[in-house]
Amino acid sequence: MRYSAFAILKNALRGNRDWTPAWRKPEPKSKYDVIIIGGGGHGLSTAFYLASVHGITNVAVIEKGYLGSGNVGRNTTIVRSNYRLTPNSRFYEKSMELWRELSHTLNYNVMFSPRGVLNLAHNPGQMDTMAERGNQMRLMGVRSELLDRDQVARLNPGLDVSGSARFPIEGGLLQPDAGNARHDAVAWGYARGADQLGVDLLEGTEVVDFLKEGDTIVGVEVMRNGERSEIRAEKTGVAVAGNTGRVMKMAGVDHLPIESTVLQAFVSESIKPIIPNVVTFGAGHLYVSQSDKGGLVFGGNIDYYNSYAQRGNLPVWEEVTSELVAMFPNFARLRLLRSWGGVMDMSMDGSPIITTGPLPGMYLNAGWCYGGFKATPASGWCFAHTIANDKAHNLNALFTLERFKDGNPIDELGAGPTPWYH
């Protein structure tokens, strides 16, 4: 059923009885052309682009929980392409292109909202670092503006721009075309789009092992409704974000340049609009925006330790909230409603991996760290290309597994091979 204002009216008149499921709940077939493990944003978008761009529709997405139960359903929804290094810059700008059309591509309102992302700078040195990034963006054809303190104050009236702030604001870098999108809608929209093209979305189905012929992956073994069964495929793509370590171990790949840690996110009670855009603090680690429902959605650093638990600890609460109320002292009486965690696939350089291999018949999409939500369209698009052609697209050609050992990391922060520093 096509979604539109008209459809809503028509259905409302009939008591909303005629709506049909957004996607089917099919039983698994025994064999597919392609299996994608992971019904998160990346898995679903990969399936969608396999079907829509490459005409490969005999595809299953296998999800152990409910669709969107992973990081795509628990992130702070920031979408941007304000990168410093060329490979990232190109890739994320491709994503922006896809974002801008996504609601139409999917016939699903993903609420992409280019409200602007503002990174604050707190001293002249930091302003120069911002300029360095902003200039790279401009040279890559991405809009960016370096704002002085007054411009920042005009944009975000609540900010403490006084000179007496502990870290006075000097200015900031604005990507005006960046913003947010509605996380769940992205998952559901891709799911519905893929389903309509014939992709089987298998929820409640956990991959527990791989089927191998020699070294070659020829399918997976799954648990579904308490029963084990096999699903075969020519090609198996892994897009399980924080669970990459777990899943790859089943395939016998027991070491990777990835560690899993927990990242917490926070939402306040709903209030009337109080910040128009996304703001990040430059003298610590904090990003905040306001959801359409009115909640301030914010997050900061990961909890610095390996974790597969979707919950974090108190130190991060203290850190992010103290930074938030330092930036916006008028937020002190607003209240935190809920916090949660997601398991992050932190790579050794903070940049992703989209590649063929590491085993024959297998394809890997991982290493998204804090930043894979904004990549959802481009990640799926590139991964689909890589799977369909058995070869990386130019846009992801450098996102290899080998780059670390070859000495060619794509290290935006220059933090080195300490995953939790990225």
Partner: protein
Amino acid sequence: MSGFRLNLRNGVGDALSDETINFTFNGKPYQGRKGDTLASALLANGVKIVARSFKYHRPRGIFTAGSEEPNALVTLRIAGRKEPNVRATEVELYDGLIARTQNSWPSVNFDLMTVNQLPGKTFSAGFYYKTFMGPSRPGHKATQFWWICEQFIRRAAGLGKGSAHADPDRYARMNAFCDILVVGSGAAGLAAAQRAASAGAKVIACEENPTLGGALQSAPDILDGEPAKDWVSHAWEELAQEPNVTVLRRTTVQSYFDDNTFLAVERVADHIAQPEKGQPRQRAWNIRAKSTVIATGALERPMVFPGNDLPGVMLADAARRYAVEFGTSPGRSICVFTNNDTGWLAARDMAKSGVIISAIVDVRLDVADHIRAAGEETRAQVRIGAAVVKAKGFRHLSAVKVRDFSEATGHVSGHERTIPCDVLAVSGGWSPAFHLTSQQGGKPQWDAELQAFLPGAPIQKWHCAGAMAGQFGLRSAFRSGEEAAVKALADCGLEDGESSVPVIDGDSVDHAPAPVLEIKTPGKAFVDLQHDVTADDVHLAHREGFISVEHLKRYTTLGMATDQGKTSNMSGLSIMAETQGKPIPDVGTTRFRPPYTPVALGALAGERYGHLAAERLTPMYDLHVEAGAHMYANGPWLRPESYNLPGENVEQAYIRETIAVRKSVGMVDVSTLGKIDVQGPDAAEFLNRIYSNGFAKLPVGKARYGLMLREDGFLFDDGTTWRLDDNRFLMTTTTIGAGKVMEHLEYHHDVVWPDLKVALTSVSDEWAAVAVAGPKSRAVLRKCVTDCDVSNEGMPFMGVRDGEIDGIPVKIARLSFSGELAYEVFCGAHWGRALWKALEKAGEKFDITPYGLEALSTLRIEKGHVAGPELNGRTTPLDLGLGGMISSKKNFVGCALLQRETFSKEDRFQLVAVKSLDGQPITGGSHLVAGQKDEPGRSQGHTTSMCFSPELNCYISLALLEGGFKRHGEKLFASSPVRGKHVAVEVINPHIVDPKGGRMHG
């Protein structure tokens, strides 16, 4: 006060004192009593509509008497203390309180936003995903349409308004340790705390409410011959006297973290107009407990039927508490609708307090005799096997319609009777408040008998007790509290204590409800009152395939409001279960997350609100400020950027300072350098492994510049290290790198080479340091240094000597970051000020000029010395032209991976300098491009550190340029589109000043 206040007497309105309190609501003055909550005072004044719902702006009345309130959200106070979304049910009345309704316009009684109701079924769950996509034009255009819609939606959404002003109050933290944390002060919590305390355990007990005792505060039972309320108050009073017991009221245990670490938030001064001097508004308690007893009671749940959101519909136990505790009748005529015994008892207790009960409606046919007897005491009409099928009224309840109901089929039948009433007290049974255990991942378990989820097996050291554990009866609450304490004592390795359960004379109540939460008759029936989620929305979600509970929640937003579905989750689940034809446990529950109730962000920041991070100051800080220095936040440090003379800007000042150094002499505070004392028989060997260049053979009395690599071959940090003795070195690091270098060394010592005898101590704070630089620097030292020969022979380049300046013991090293003849003078930090002054005095004759970070940077840029911006984590020593510092005679951290092929590629980003060809400044963060402004082409590199070079009389910058080593002489542009700059530059050798080093060696 209008006629809703009951005749106050012993047992009715005990929470209230005689004191009258004035307050305003929506600008209108009202009176209440001390002890009232805002909710009870509003009820007493006959105020019925207190809020509007989120989506449809439907009128909302008070629904509960506690923190689970979904409806009665108001904005409290004004200006910086303005606080939106406060639950009126929790606000303790104080004189002068100002409260307003929110999310309504022009007023709560007449709200134009109710137009949102008109489109009716079009605003169904998730409708916004299906529309607002705009014309199907690609790119920006398509998004723009949504963006315009979004502006309107955002303004319509949102509850209260935040303040535009900074919060003037302060927040505090408290770190606490105990054997046993008891959460909840009801019968179960009390029993646990008593038993644990009697065993000598260190106990902290937290109670969310201002009064202790939980349900006992209004229980009709007699304990040890005393009314429950009095008994429990005495018991807590006594317990609080014990030295090993801390009792915290107004303190909600909000979050349960790993290893029995808790966050509890105490509302220290929310019940008064404003905090007293020095008093925090709220205090965040970080509690570490060896074991925990969770006795958080249970939350009553409502029934779902058409019209159930009308003001006047409220929970039965809340209505009871308003009558008994607050001496307030929630209405003139009250009808009770229940599926369990507690509704009846609520009716009886209310009637006893003087409330008029018009009817009791129970879906069950089978009601125990003693319960029916209790009902008869109210003199209300009783309808069993019946259900309320509709609540009627314009903006407020005026009557309910009742029909016969079959528990077996769930169908209604028979004649519809109208019962006039202005309050409908509903009880759908009780849900244990297992939020805290769920936060930790505890899996709740369904209890079919109680029709409720129980907390399930513990996965940390917690023990559940009382209603929270499904032990609803008073006796079992006490008993389970004691049992939990016994287990908790065992967790702490403590002996058991004594029992002190009272003799109980009271009702025996069966809390098991009929499994009925929804009455299915046509009309708008609400599940989530705040978010306007209706039973129809749940059905729609099911139809569209959002059948997992988590999908249901996200698609409909059921349970996502400020109350987190405390009163609505169960109804939502039961409707979903029914729709799917599955039992409730198969549908499952959504996960509870911390905090338990919303917490002020200020409270979480605690003492850091207004004091984000400690400032780090050098001993000479005051002198810099006095000298007019412009201070610069550099990590935690505050450092002088430049010493501006009157009328000078930063650039003018640093150029003047730089020239002074090159021409005569300057001095700069370098106390922020990281300093690490490295001692021991293996100190030299250790350093030799850490640095890429050799340190083993460094002579005593000499310093050496060293490079440290990360193990992956990239540069990590740099600095000079001084050999003070055979077995003693003083290492210096960059200011920013100090902490991470220390950890790097400690890691390699502790973990990699523990056999080396070496001791590492941070002495950054031990030493104040001043660099004296310029051709006259030796002359300055000559004037003030005693006990040390500072001549070229006595102190050659890189020499390190001990001496004295004005009686201050100093260490002097002849080092040069500036390229000039220069010295670093170190002394004990507490003499730092004296040293600075002494050097100033000695330099007077040479016009010694204090210089700041900008000049420091300019001097080293001109010299081609690298620093932070060049050590950006992506450069190797080879990239920076420091290949000569890679020892081939030994292995060191990073040496193996430095040999990787890629590092010797010719197109790597390599260090060069560029100079401006047209007199324009090269702004920081510029990129090097080949093309003109309108077509710059791709970035070939970027500038790292820029300055005006007095030496070359033009703007220059260090830069990292692709294949830069071979491109000296090439003409490029330093492009900074974000600053509108495009400057023609020439690539030059970075060693501009004195490339041969004659000056610093001289």
